[in-house]
């Protein structure tokens, strides 16, 4: 075959590879600028007891997960059974940021579906959510002992994502 005929073939293969790679990208996942930075400070009322507050500073010294959730969020329901199972394994404490939710609906959700959270705090106006760059619930952050965000996962957490992405980081941070 003459080399001239190979040019369109090569161009086609290149274009196919390019478009194929494009299909695999997830343009909706926005890289967070907060990775490697101090987790934004908050002090918010507890879902279980709204007179008491939990501050992010109280969690210094331990590795923890911040899971942003809401009772109105359908993908949260999808990930909830996994969170409950994960909490039972006691690898890392999960703290919930109840985002723009009605506390009564949130409490009902916890009672009905189980409570994977060490505590959940109420972010009723979503300001703390904005500080954390939340744009789609659920989101899960890995925060280290000194309060630095090490990883962020957007979308429902699954066993697969956990084992692949979060667990190695958590293990490394705890060692």
């Amino acid at each position: 075959m003459s080399p001239r005929l190979l040019v369109p073939l090569c161009a086609f293969i290149l274009l196919g590879a390019l478009l194929g790679a494009g299909l695999r990208l997830k343009p909706r996942e926005i890289p967070s600028p907060l990775i490697g930075k101090a987790a934004p400070a908050f002090s918010l009322p507890l879902l279980s007891e709204s007179q008491r507050a939990l501050a992010s500073a109280d969690l210094k010294g331990k590795v923890w997960l911040l899971n942003v959730w809401a009772s109105w969020c359908t993908p949260c329901r999808e990930e909830h059974p996994f969170l409950v199972a994960l909490a039972r394994e006691q690898i890392v404490p999960i703290y919930g940021l109840n985002y723009k939710d009605d506390p009564r609906a949130a409490q009902e959700w916890i009672q009905r579906l189980g409570n994977p959270y060490a505590e959940s705090v109420l972010d009723r106006d979503g300001k703390v959510g904005i500080d954390y760059g939340v744009y789609g619930v659920p989101e899960t952050f890995v925060i280290d002992r000194s309060g630095v965000i090490r990883f962020k996962h957007v979308g429902p957490l699954t066993r697969e994502v956990w084992t692949r992405d979060l667990l190695p980081i958590v293990q490394q941070l705890r060692s």
Partner: protein, 160 residues
């Protein structure tokens, strides 16, 4: 008499309508100048939920919250740049419709110009390679004579 009553009712109804309408035209924003700044800035920022809409266009809940943030911060006397910094600290350059020029965005900014340049080079080369229009073959004296006979002698025609 009935006409009179009907007219009265119509006038009353119209009056009621005018009164009811009077309450509607209250300006939505208490401060139109601030609102226009919010909208100008909102048009520069991308809605994180819809992603192909600006904050100003979007009605997603997060977009409304972020617009409220912009409004609050501008009202508190912050500059446009400070608000943009606030947004990029949280959502990264993704939130900007005009990404800044840096190492990771060079291709984005230079890409179109580069493609045009490549196209021009390709065009230049393909035009250069194409053979020019061939020279018409020279006619022998006999051929020319014959052509003149067939076409008619233009000099003779012009003279006639």
């Amino acid at each position: 008499m009935t006409h009179c009553a009907a007219r009265l009712v119509a006038i009353l109804l119209l009056a009621v309508c005018t009164l009811a309408g009077a309450g509607v035209a209250v300006p939505v924003a208490a401060d139109p100048a601030l609102e226009s700044r919010v909208n100008t800035l909102g048009a520069e920022l991308r809605c994180l939920v819809c992603q192909n809409q600006s904050l100003a266009d979007s009605h997603a809940e997060l977009a409304v919250d972020l617009k409220n943030q912009i409004r609050e911060q501008l009202r508190a006397g912050r500059s446009e740049q400070q608000v943009i910094d606030y947004m990029t600290e949280r959502y990264g350059d993704f939130v900007l419709y005009r990404p800044p020029l840096k190492a990771s965005t060079v291709l984005l900014w230079a890409g179109p110009a580069l493609l045009v340049l490549l196209g021009l080079i390709a065009l230049w080369r393909s035009l250069g390679r194409r053979p020019g229009t061939p020279e018409p073959p020279a006619l022998s004296a006999a051929d020319e004579q014959r052509a003149l006979e067939l076409l008619g002698d233009p000099r003779r025609d012009a003279g006639a």
